[in-house]
């Protein structure tokens, strides 16, 4: 049972903690920038690029933690 739960956790969260933590940080960071910028204005047009950059940073950090 413990082995199964371990595999289930791996399935949902992946092999490294760095990735789910990185995704959470990226989304929370993007939400914070949105609050600071205001939901209207530049965020609507360019907010996606902010999130994309944060997500790529999360991927890079998860790779670094693996090598």
């Amino acid at each position: 049972m413990t082995g199964f739960l371990h595999q289930l956790r791996l399935l949902v969260l992946g092999e490294t903690r760095a990735l789910p933590l990185g995704v959470a940080a990226a989304v929370l960071g993007a939400a914070l920038v949105r609050e600071l910028a205001g939901p209207e204005g530049w965020w609507q047009d360019a907010g996606g690029l902010v999130l994309l950059a944060l997500v790529l940073a999360a991927l890079l950090l998860s790779l670094r933690s693996n090598t």
Binding site: F4, Q7, L8, L11, V12, L13, G14, E15, T16, L19, P20, G22, V23, A26, V27, A30, A31, R34, P39, W43, Q44, D45, G47, G48, L51, L52, V55, L56, A58, L59, L60, S62, L63, N66, T67
Partner: protein, 242 residues
């Protein structure tokens, strides 16, 4: 555009997961008895069907549009980036290439003992667990991809095509299993799921992508360029990799 990408993403992700489940079921059938492999797999399929029937409607009915997109986006990012991370490590030679055939051989060796006369619970459990874990991943990915209303049809069609494809591969195994370029396909699925995840999560945070759905292509291109750069930076010299 989004129709084709959703269909492709769902089809590839589901086919690759089902292929891994198939490898486990075949290993059980070859090493022990087909009947026990089928019983274990069928029980897991029933649990997955129940999970899918409960999860999809609940997720869609309980959440309003923007939070739903954010939840779906985060779920797709978790799956997509994990596939992409492994893909980059494999392309860089820092991780073994993905192979359902190798998994088949490994399971077969682990189950080498002769089956008991009565019900073979060990074999049934291995088949059940293998199919359940891969099946749950399929359910989660398809549910996430099918979350937005206009993505429902392509995600379900893609999943259906993948099931048909896997059945065909299963009928003519095992040589095709060795020829499938799983590493490259899994990398492509990682790029697609990560792109959808970023797209939906941003929309959930109030972003209006310029060019609408076509932005998905640009996001995917950025993921390909960035991950290839990461892979070439991490690539081991040939001597060290060998």
């Amino acid at each position: 555009m989004s129709f084709v990408l959703t269909l492709l993403g769902a089809m590839l992700a589901v086919a690759l997961e089902l292929l891994e489940a198939l490898a486990i079921v075949l290993a059980v059938a070859v090493s022990r008895r087909t009947r026990d492999a089928v019983i274990g797999a069928a029980a897991a399929v029933a649990v997955c069907a129940l999970a899918g029937a409960l999860l999809g409607p609940v997720l869609v009915a309980k959440l309003a549009s923007e939070p739903l997109e954010l939840v779906i986006g985060v779920a797709l990012l978790l799956f997509g980036l994990e596939w992409l991370r492994k893909g980059v490590l494999r392309l860089a030679g820092r991780r073994a290439r993905s192979s359902a055939y190798a998994e088949f051989v490994e399971e077969r060796e682990a189950l080498a003992a002769a089956p008991p006369d009565g019900p073979d619970w060990a074999a049934r459990t291995v088949a059940f667990k293998g199919v359940l874990l891969e099946g749950l991943e399929v359910i989660l990915i398809v549910t996430a991809l099918a979350g937005p209303e206009d993505s429902r049809a392509p995600a379900l069609i893609g999943a259906g095509l993948a099931v048909a494809l896997t059945v065909v591969v299963g009928l003519v195994l095992h040589r095709p299993l060795r020829r499938i370029p799983e590493t490259e396909l899994k990398y492509a699925v990682g790029v697609l799921l990560s792109s959808f995840g970023t797209f939906f999560a941003a929309e959930g945070l109030g972003v209006e992508w310029p060019a609408g759905d076509a932005a998905l292509l640009a996001i995917a291109a950025v993921f390909v360029a960035a991950s290839q750069a990461m892979a070439s930076r991490l690539r081991l010299p040939r001597a060290a990799a060998a």
